[in-house]
Symmetry: C2
Subunit: 338 residues, 2 copies
Amino acid sequence: MNGDDERIVMAHGGGGELTRRLLAERVIPRLANDLLAPLADSAVLPRPAGRVCLTTDAFVVQPLEFPGGDIGRLAVFGTVNDLAVMGAVPTALSLALVIEEGLPLAVLDRLVDSIAAAARQADVVVATGDTKVIDRRGGDGLIVVTAGVGELRDGVNLDGRRIEAGDAVLVSGGIAEHGLAVMLARENLAFRTELRSDAAPLTALIVRLLDSGADVKFLRDPTRGGLAGVLADLVDLTGLTVEVEERRVPLSPAALHAAEMLGLDPLTVANEGKVVAVVAGGDAERALRACREHPQGRDGAIVGRFTDAAPALVDLITRAGGRRMVTRPYGEELPRIC
Amino acid sequence: MNGDDERIVMAHGGGGELTRRLLAERVIPRLANDLLAPLADSAVLPRPAGRVCLTTDAFVVQPLEFPGGDIGRLAVFGTVNDLAVMGAVPTALSLALVIEEGLPLAVLDRLVDSIAAAARQADVVVATGDTKVIDRRGGDGLIVVTAGVGELRDGVNLDGRRIEAGDAVLVSGGIAEHGLAVMLARENLAFRTELRSDAAPLTALIVRLLDSGADVKFLRDPTRGGLAGVLADLVDLTGLTVEVEERRVPLSPAALHAAEMLGLDPLTVANEGKVVAVVAGGDAERALRACREHPQGRDGAIVGRFTDAAPALVDLITRAGGRRMVTRPYGEELPRIC
């Protein structure tokens, strides 16, 4: 068997010599950094300046690689973004790989390289990890679970309960691109489109928003459940209505086309590189300017406002000028996209 | 369908209304604590007094429940112990559940209850989490991935490179009980034995060791690869030989019997509630006394010493008085035990 045909076997996860070699020869060198010590059970992080944030995400996306990204990039950016939307600066990640027996080592190498590159791009290190192997069942190939710690910026108060009528909803760019790109790849329709996953780290864009002087009351990356899911959560949290103008919601022609081809409502489809911000009504323009100054936010838009209309709901003013109530998607419209 | 027959469906992982209900009704109330906020993407932890440790573990054990524990207890204690052996006091965990479609909700409820009880026992909180559902393949039922953060005690220097000839190896109690208990359960041989998994939190026992005044140079919980794996790692790290007396290694009659029944070398079998400590030779008795004062350490023993005999290896003096070289297990002698 030559090197290209090598595959993961159960023994790679047994904790013995084969596990040691897999990590020492293929994983740790790719992730190399000062915190990642091969013999330690955990990593010692630098003393934090402020409070510490902790988050975790499990990624079960199929296929493992798709236009614009792969499960590794998704895991790093997803975790970084969950910290960033808390107003935290991400510092270190943990990385658990649950590998299905039979995964080609060449695929594993590529994905670990991608994790390392994404971590560099997001300015975090993979400080510790764990690797297990599960039986082959013609299934997933790889499940990636990351946790992340970050330092909370002083003076940031992102408590959505401060939201009041008149506050504005900003979306930083075109929605639905991640979920649609993965679905098209899975349906072998990727050739029909230029659409790519938007997976990207949000830290720098969010720092710019927070530093703009605008009163930012809430941040969230609209992943599973999409923009609709975030807005439904905000209605539950605030007891207010949010009125959204469909024509103002950023949506690329490629994403619109893909959503029509797949019969999906782009409002409910996951993003992995966009942020939804709620800002004080009077600060909307200032926040939007700050957003658009950043390359990842140049298509940003104010898409709606909170009102005290009863009953509280997500009230969409459609392109045709009608109104429709937007609800949280009920179940699994897009399985295994993140 | 009545409540007892309810099972996980793909839609429970979709990020929509069903996901929200699963978490709000079945998971979060069981784990209830001040840090776990249903709407937040990450948890804000109290400001740490010292440096922060980060660790992660993926658990793929089969069966999910076994004598002495289950995958939930194992995940909590495994992560707590990885922090404790760094000399850190565990403070918060993250919890990622990757659930296979078809898992009975009653099983999930039981395992989340077990996680909550284990966290209380170990004095940590589950501060944040993520839930995904994967397709049914007659497989695992549940994969649990935990990450943990802890605060490092000041003045602790657990750098194994300080180990020198004459230092002693202490084991806190009977080895191999976890791996053997799981294997017996899997082979439906559990009725033949009283053996139970030793899964337990090590924090209090380790604090006692560190506070004893003994110069503790290294701590490790001998999980995958067992005691043999830890000793092989220490030989690699120090370039020294470690001489171990088999008759001094704590091993219960039930574990010895189970190992013989399964044809396994107990030195290579995983533990989940024991610690291996390397202490300065002159402090061996003091450390052993401290260990035995704690209920979890009452069977502790000094099992061997480092020497500068060349070549460096793990040199076992067998019960029969012979010598044999102990190596790290090569691959997967006990698949899916943690």
